[in-house]
């Protein structure tokens, strides 16, 4: 009986340690979204500032980076300069789109006036776009290939290195 207990106990312990190692080896910010590999949920939302409607489908033909963010989110402030700088560097080759997450439009407008922008920021309708994209917090960023298929999702603030690494998944 003692030998059986030792064997079974060892097997359980090894299994738990294995699960722990697998978990520790993953980057929690690189979320495997069920939407990765699927067509991005379609939307056409109003742009902050201009009021014009922007349809995500109009950017088909080039990679698109959709960034969900809010002014009340500290990491979004941290990430904003990276997004703007990369949007300027990449120009027309990649389309950046911001989507407001649970925030007031006037606050967003004030933030953009103060800190600048290089791409459209859109107002979500009752959070439905965020829900369809499986957003659980901000910032969250989705990388779409030129056919509108989601190729990567990143949770948390990105630096240029992370942004370019994920963008590569959408451009290959």
């Amino acid at each position: 009986m003692n030998r059986t207990v030792v064997i079974v106990g060892s097997l359980i312990a090894f299994a738990l340690v294995g699960v722990l190692f697998i978990g520790l080896g993953k980057n929690p910010a690189e979320i495997r979204s069920p939407l990765v590999g699927r067509p991005a949920p379609a939307f056409a939302l109003r742009e902050v500032g201009t009021g014009r409607t922007i349809d995500i489908a109009q950017f088909r033909g080039k990679p698109v980076i959709i960034n969900f963010w809010a002014t009340w989110c500290g990491p979004c402030w941290e990430e904003h300069p990276t997004l703007v700088a990369n949007a300027r560097q990449l120009g027309d080759n990649v389309q950046f789109v911001g989507v407001v997450f649970q925030d007031a439009e006037e606050k967003i407008q004030g933030f953009l006036n103060q800190r600048g922008t290089a791409y459209p920021t859109l107002v979500d309708q009752e959070g439905k776009t965020a829900i369809a994209y499986g957003v659980g917090g901000v910032p969250e960023t989705y990388f779409l290939d030129r056919n509108g298929v989601i190729r990567a999702k990143y949770v948390g603030p990105m630096d240029s290195e992370i942004l370019r690494a994920n963008l590569t998944k959408a451009t290959n």
Partner: protein
């Protein structure tokens, strides 16, 4: 094709479109609900969904804006005739199985259901085996008991010392 299946919201004279459940799970397969039934079912279905921004709270229980939006969407979908299965599937396609408070019996998640039952059965088996062994030991003939073994040298010496050895 799925991109054409959108919920259309007219705002400021322009056509706005938000992603709709239809592009995920197709047309409603149930009966549109209203009134008390809609209210009750909204609570029931929302209780099956995890609030993504909360710590272990369901969409029904959480006061967060995210949960309120999700609950509103559940109500809208029930009012349009979507079934509970379709609604849960819609949220699962966006958030993964994480959003389901009751994990599905499939893949690695099956362990959540199987492991407790298996652990309980193994425990019962161990206890049963142990009890059976103990009762078997107690019923064993006592010939092996060293107290009654006449050939035991130690016992013989003790009996000699207390004077009972030859009695």
């Amino acid at each position: 094709m799925t991109f054409l299946l959108l919920l259309v919201l007219p705002v400021y004279g322009q056509t706005l479109q938000v992603p709709d459940a239809q592009q995920f799970v197709g047309n409603p397969q149930g009966t549109p609900l209203a009134g008390d039934q809609l209210y009750r079912r909204t609570g029931e279905v929302s209780a099956l969904l995890r609030c993504p921004v909360c710590q272990g709270l369901s969409v029904a229980d959480s006061p967060s804006e995210m949960a309120v939006n999700m609950k509103r969407q559940v109500r809208e979908l029930l009012a349009r005739g979507y079934t509970e299965e379709q609604i849960l599937r819609y949220f699962e396609l966006s958030y993964g199985q994480f959003v389901l408070l009751k994990p599905k019996f499939e893949g690695v998640n099956a362990l959540v259901w199987v492991f407790p039952v298996a652990a309980l059965l193994i425990g019962v088996l161990i206890v049963f085996t142990k009890i059976r062994k103990l009762s078997t030991d107690n019923r064993q003939p006592t010939t092996d008991n060293p107290v009654d073994n006449p050939d035991d040298e130690y016992l013989r010496r003790v009996r000699d010392m207390v004077g009972g050895g030859k009695a």
